[in-house]
C-alpha cells in the first residue's frame, strides 16, 4: 500500500550512507554510493516541489569537485620533486616570505590532482546524501519531530520553506511590472527596481505567515521558564561539543582513540536531556502520525549496514577504502564494501511507494494571482515563436 515513509527513517538511512562515504576515498565506491542514492531517489520520491531537488545537489557536488581540483592545481604546493608525474607546469609566482607554505602556480602533478579529485568526490557524495534525504522526506513533516523546545527554529524554517518559492514568483511578477514602466529588466541598474519591491513583498509575506502561525497556536505554552531555557541551552551546548569530539574521533580516523565513543554517547545523552527538559511543557499531537513499522526498520537497517561495515573495516584491507596516490595505484574493488553499499540500495525496494496526491482533472478557477500572466520575463520579445505569432 503506498504511504509516505517516516521522514526520520530516510534521514537515518542517508546518514548511514554518509558515514560510509566519509570513510573512503575510493572513487569506485564513491561513485557506487552516488549510484545507490540516484536509484533510491528515482524509485521512491514523491511529486512535491522539493522532490525534484536532487539534480541541484548533484550539480552542487560537481561544483565542489571542480573547486577542489582547481584550487589544488593553483595553490597545491606540488614541487614536482620525487617520483611523480607532472602533467603541466603553471607559471610560478614567487610569494613574499611571510606567505611561506603557500605556493601560487608551479607544476601540477597527476598525483595531486587525483587526490583532490577523490577528496572532492567524497565531499560531493556527503552533500548528495543530505540532498537525497531532503528529496525523499517532506521537510515540513521532518520538522514535526523537532522537539517543542526548538519551536522558534521551527517557525524560521517553515517561513523560509514557504516564502522561498513565492520569492521566485514575486521576482517574475516585479520584472514584468518593470517592463510596464519601460525600465531595464536586467543588469545592475534594474537591481534596485526589482529587489526593493520583491524584498518588501517577501518581508510582508513572512510576517503574515508568522502571525497566522502564532494565532493558530504554534509554540503554545512553549514559553518555558527562563531557568528551564538556560538549562536547555547549557545541556545542548555541552552535548553538541561532546558529539563533535566523538564524531571527529570516530569518523576522522585520527588518534583520539578510546575517548571518542564515550564522548559521542555522553554528548548524545546530554542533547537528549536538554531537549527533554525544554519540551516538557510543550504539548502537541499529530494528525495522522507517521507510523514506524517494518519498512522503516528495513530502510534504517539498509543504511546501517554500509556504515557499520566501513567503520569496523572487517574483512578487507584499509587500502581498499583509501587507494594510495603516492605512489600511484589503480583503485581496487574490495568486494565486501561493494556489497555493503549495494545493500543500501535495497531501501529503494523496502520502502513503500510514496503517496501520489490526487490531481484535479480540470484545473478550475485558479486565482488570477496564482497564474503568472506572461511570466516569460524580458526574453519573450525576442523568441522566434512570438515573432510568428505577431506576423500571423
Amino acid at each position: 500500500m503506498p504511504r509516505n515513509l517516516h521522514p526520520i527513517a530516510w534521514w537515518l538511512w542517508a546518514l548511514g550512507l554518509a558515514t560510509a562515504a566519509s570513510r573512503t576515498t575510493n572513487p569506485i565506491l564513491l561513485m557506487l554510493v552516488l549510484g545507490v542514492l540516484g536509484f533510491v531517489v528515482a524509485n521512491r520520491r514523491g511529486e512535491a516541489p522539493w522532490a525534484r531537488a536532487f539534480k541541484y545537489y548533484l550539480f552542487l557536488a560537481l561544483v565542489v569537485i571542480a573547486i577542489r581540483v582547481v584550487s589544488r592545481s593553483l595553490f597545491g604546493g606540488d614541487t614536482g620533486a620525487g617520483d611523480v608525474h607532472v602533467l603541466f607546469t603553471l607559471p610560478h609566482a614567487p610569494l613574499p616570505s611571510w606567505a611561506a607554505g603557500v605556493q601560487l602556480g608551479g607544476p601540477v602533478t597527476l598525483e595531486g590532482t587525483l587526490s583532490a579529485l577523490y577528496a572532492g568526490l567524497q565531499l560531493g557524495c556527503l552533500l548528495c546524501c543530505m540532498g537525497a534525504a531532503n528529496t525523499l522526506a517532506n521537510p515540513k513533516r521532518a520538522l514535526r519531530v523537532l522537539p517543542g523546545a526548538l519551536h522558534e527554529l521551527g517557525v524560521a524554517v517553515v517561513v523560509t520553506l514557504s516564502v522561498a518559492p513565492q520569492l521566485v514568483e514575486s521576482v517574475q511578477r516585479v520584472r514584468r511590472a518593470r517592463k510596464l514602466r519601460g525600465g531595464a529588466t536586467r543588469g545592475f541598474r534594474a537591481l534596485r527596481g526589482i529587489a526593493i519591491p520583491v524584498l518588501e513583498d517577501a518581508l510582508e509575506r513572512s510576517l503574515r505567515l508568522a502571525a497566522a502561525m502564532d494565532s493558530r497556536g504554534y509554540g503554545r505554552t512553549g514559553s518555558a521558564s527562563p531557568r528551564a531555557r538556560r538549562a536547555t541551552g547549557a545541556f545542548m551546548v555541552v552535548g553538541m561539543c561532546g558529539l563533535c569530539v566523538g564524531a571527529y574521533g570516530l569518523f576522522g580516523g585520527s588518534g583520539l582513540g578510546p575517548l571518542s565513543v564515550p564522548a559521542l554517547l555522553g554528548g548524545s545523552a546530554l542533547c537528549c536531556l536538554g531537549l527533554a527538559i525544554g519540551s516538557r511543557r510543550v504539548r502537541r499531537s499529530h494528525y495522522r502520525p507517521d507510523p514506524w513499522q517494518a519498512p522503516e526498520w528495513a530502510v534504517v537497517a539498509c543504511g546501517a549496514v554500509p556504515a557499520v561495515l566501513f567503520l569496523v573495516s572487517a574483512g578487507f584491507g584499509a587500502t581498499g577504502l583509501n587507494p594510495s596516490v603516492y605512489p600511484l595505484t589503480w583503485p581496487s574493488l574490495p568486494i565486501i564494501p561493494v556489497l555493503g553499499v549495494l545493500v543500501a540500495a535495497l531501501a529503494g525496494l523496502a520502502a513503500p511507494p510514496p503517496l501520489r496526491p490526487a490531481r484535479a482533472v480540470v484545473r478550475e478557477g485558479k486565482d488570477d494571482r496564482a497564474t503568472p500572466p506572461g511570466g516569460d520575463g524580458s526574453s519573450g520579445a525576442g523568441r522566434p515563436g512570438h515573432r510568428v505569432g505577431a506576423s500571423a
Partner: protein, 548 residues
C-alpha cells in the same frame, strides 16, 4: 463574548492613536460587521480581539480586552487559539502546510487534540464548508473562494467561539464571495459562533449583520443595530443609499426588503426617461476636445495565451474605441489578466494580432510600447521602488521624456490632490498609491489604458473618485479598460461590459444590457428598480431632480 473596555492603541512612532477609547461589547452568536473608510484601523480592531495587537505588531494598548473571559494582556495570540480563530485577507499567505487536510488539522495539532478527535473534526469541517472533494488537493492550486473556505475551516477545527475575518471576500468574484458568506452565516446560525467581520463591499454582507461597528477616522468607534447605524455611517452600500435618499424608515438592508418598499418610487420614476448612466458620454467628450481620435484605437484579433497545457485566452477579438470605458468581468482565473497583459504587449501571447495606430505594441521595445498602451497591474506597488513620491514622479518624467507636456507630479495632483512630495510610497493609502502609479503610467501618454483590478481594497469614496478619474481619462479620448469583480463599480464607471469565461469572451455590450440582465452581476439599484433600467444612485438622483 468580546469585551473591549476603554481600549486605545498607539503604534510605535505613531503620533496619534489608531483606536481611541473604544468600549465595545459583542454578544455570543452575533455577526458583528466592522465598517469604516480605508486605513482607519479596522484591521487593528480585529487584531486587538485575538491579541495580535499588540503582541505581534508592537505598539501600546491601553485599557482592557476580554475574550471569553481571557485578558489579552496576559494571553498572547497562541494562548487564545482555542477561543479565537482569525483569518486574514490573503488566505494563501497564512497557509502553513501543503494540503487541505493537513491545513485543517494544523491548529488542532498545536492544541494537542487527540488524534481520533482530530480525524472526526476534520471530516465534519470538510462537510460543513462543502470542501470534502478538495481534501487531498494542494493548497496553492485551489481557486480564491476555495482557499478562503479552507482558511476558515483551518481555524474552525479548533472549535473557536469567536471567528475574526478580515475582508474575506475582497479578492473574490461575486459567486465565490456568495459561497464564503453562505458558509459564514451558516456558522453563525447553526453553531452559534460569534463572528467579527470587516468588509469594504457592504452590499454583500450588510443584510446578514446583527451589529454594525463603525470605526471613524479619529479612532473612535460606534456600535449599534444595523439599520439605525447605517442611516448615519460614512460608508453605505447602494441599497442603503437608496433607502436614505427615499427616506425609508426603518432602513431596508436587503434587496428583498428594499424592493417591497420601492413600489411608489418605481411608479414615480417610470414616468421619466432613464438618464444616461454617465454624465460625460463619449460623444460629449469628443465634442469638447476636438482633435481626439474617434473610433477604434486598439484592435485585437484572435488573441491566444497559453501556459503550458492551460489555455488562458482562446482567440479573443477586441476593439477599443477612444473615449470609451470598458469593464472586463468574469470569474477568478477566467483569463482577464492574461488578456490585458497580452494587449499591452509585454505579456505572453502565442497567437493573434494587436493593432494600435498600425503598430503592434509588442514589436516595440518596452519603453516605446508603453507609449501606445499603458497597464496598471494588480499589485501597483510592484512599479514603485524609490523613497519618496517626488523621486518617483521625477523618475517617471525621465522615463517618458517628450511623450507628454504634463509632468507626473501635475498629473498626480489632478488625480489625487494633496499628496505631499516627501511621503514614502509605501505609506500612501491604497487609493493614493493607485493614483501615483496611474500618474507614472500616464506620463507616457498612452492612447489605451488598462487597469487590472484597481478596486481592490478601495472604500466607497475612493471608488467614487476612481470613477471620476476614469471618466476624466476617457474624456481625453483614451480607451480605458478596467478588469474588476465589483458590479457596483462597473455600473457607475463603464460604458461597455465584456464578460470572460474560461478564456472566451462570452458577452460584450452596453453596461445596462449586459449587467442589468444578469442575476449574479446586476447592481443593487438595478435589482430594486427592475424592470426600470436604472443602474446607479446617480441616475436615480438626477431623474428625481428632473421630476421635482
Amino acid at each position: 463574548m468580546i469585551e473591549l473596555d476603554h481600549v486605545s492603541v498607539t503604534y510605535a512612532g505613531g503620533s496619534s492613536p489608531v483606536l481611541r477609547d473604544v468600549s465595545l461589547h459583542v454578544e455570543e452568536g452575533e455577526l458583528a460587521l466592522v465598517v469604516g473608510r480605508t486605513g482607519v484601523g479596522k484591521s487593528t480592531l480585529l487584531g486587538v480581539i485575538n491579541g495580535l495587537v499588540p503582541h505581534f505588531t508592537g505598539g501600546t494598548l491601553a485599557g482592557r480586552v476580554l475574550v471569553a473571559g481571557r485578558d489579552t494582556r496576559t494571553h498572547p495570540p497562541r494562548e487564545l487559539a482555542d477561543v479565537v480563530g482569525a483569518v486574514g485577507q490573503d488566505p494563501l499567505s497564512g497557509f502553513v502546510t501543503d494540503t487541505v487536510e493537513e491545513e485543517l488539522a494544523y491548529a488542532m495539532e498545536q492544541l494537542a487534540v487527540p488524534p481520533d478527535v482530530m480525524r472526526k473534526r476534520v471530516e465534519e469541517t470538510l462537510d460543513l464548508l462543502g470542501i470534502a472533494e478538495l481534501r487531498d488537493r494542494a493548497l496553492h492550486e485551489l481557486s480564491g473562494g476555495q482557499q478562503q473556505r479552507v482558511a476558515i475551516g483551518s481555524v474552525l477545527t479548533a472549535h473557536p467561539r469567536v471567528l475574526v475575518l478580515d475582508e474575506p471576500t475582497s479578492a473574490l468574484d461575486p459567486t465565490a464571495a456568495e459561497e464564503v458568506l453562505a458558509a459564514v452565516t451558516r456558522l453563525v446560525h447553526d453553531l452559534g459562533v460569534t463572528v467579527v467581520l470587516a468588509e469594504h463591499r457592504l452590499e454583500r454582507v450588510v443584510q446578514y449583520a446583527d451589529r454594525v461597528v463603525e470605526v471613524r477616522a479619529d479612532g473612535t468607534v460606534a456600535a449599534g443595530l444595523p439599520a439605525p447605524m447605517l442611516a448615519v455611517t460614512q460608508v453605505a452600500p447602494p441599497v442603503v443609499e437608496l433607502g436614505r435618499f427615499a427616506r425609508w424608515d426603518p432602513l431596508p438592508l436587503s434587496v428583498r426588503d428594499a424592493r417591497r418598499r420601492a413600489g411608489p418610487l418605481r411608479e414615480r420614476l417610470s414616468a421619466r426617461p432613464v438618464p444616461p448612466p454617465r454624465r460625460t458620454t463619449p460623444q460629449a467628450a469628443m465634442g469638447t476636445t476636438p482633435g481626439t481620435p474617434t473610433g477604434v484605437v486598439l484592435s485585437a484579433r484572435g488573441i491566444v495565451v497559453r501556459y503550458g497545457a492551460v489555455t488562458a485566452v482562446r482567440g479573443v477579438n477586441v476593439d477599443l474605441a477612444g473615449g470609451e470605458v470598458t469593464a472586463l468581468m468574469g470569474r477568478n482565473g477566467s483569463g482577464k489578466s492574461s488578456l490585458l497583459w497580452a494587449l499591452q504587449g509585454s505579456g505572453r501571447r502565442q497567437g493573434g494580432t494587436v493593432d494600435v495606430n498600425g503598430t503592434d505594441p509588442r514589436s516595440l521595445p518596452a519603453a516605446k510600447g508603453r507609449r501606445l498602451v499603458g497597464l496598471v497591474p494588480q499589485t501597483p506597488a510592484d512599479l514603485l521602488y524609490l523613497d519618496t513620491v517626488l523621486q518617483e514622479c521625477e523618475q517617471a518624467d525621465r522615463e517618458s521624456a517628450g511623450a507628454s507636456s504634463v509632468g507626473a507630479r501635475a498629473l498626480l495632483d489632478r488625480l489625487a490632490p494633496g499628496i505631499a512630495d516627501d511621503v514614502h510610497p509605501r505609506d500612501l493609502s491604497e487609493g493614493q498609491r493607485l493614483s501615483l502609479v496611474l500618474a507614472v503610467q500616464l506620463t507616457a501618454a498612452p492612447k489605451v489604458l488598462l487597469l487590472d483590478e484597481p478596486t481592490r481594497g478601495l472604500d466607497y469614496r475612493a471608488k467614487r473618485s476612481l470613477v471620476g478619474i476614469i471618466h476624466l481619462l476617457a474624456a481625453e479620448g483614451r480607451a480605458v479598460v478596467v478588469s474588476t469583480h465589483d458590479v457596483e463599480f462597473v455600473a457607475a464607471a463603464a460604458d461597455r461590459v465584456a464578460v470572460m469565461a474560461a478564456g472566451d469572451l462570452v458577452a460584450d455590450g452596453p453596461t445596462a444590457a449586459v449587467v442589468g440582465a444578469s442575476p449574479a452581476f446586476a447592481p443593487q439599484v438595478a435589482k430594486i428598480l427592475a424592470p426600470l433600467e436604472y443602474l446607479t444612485m446617480d441616475q436615480v438622483r438626477s431623474a428625481v431632480a428632473g421630476v421635482d
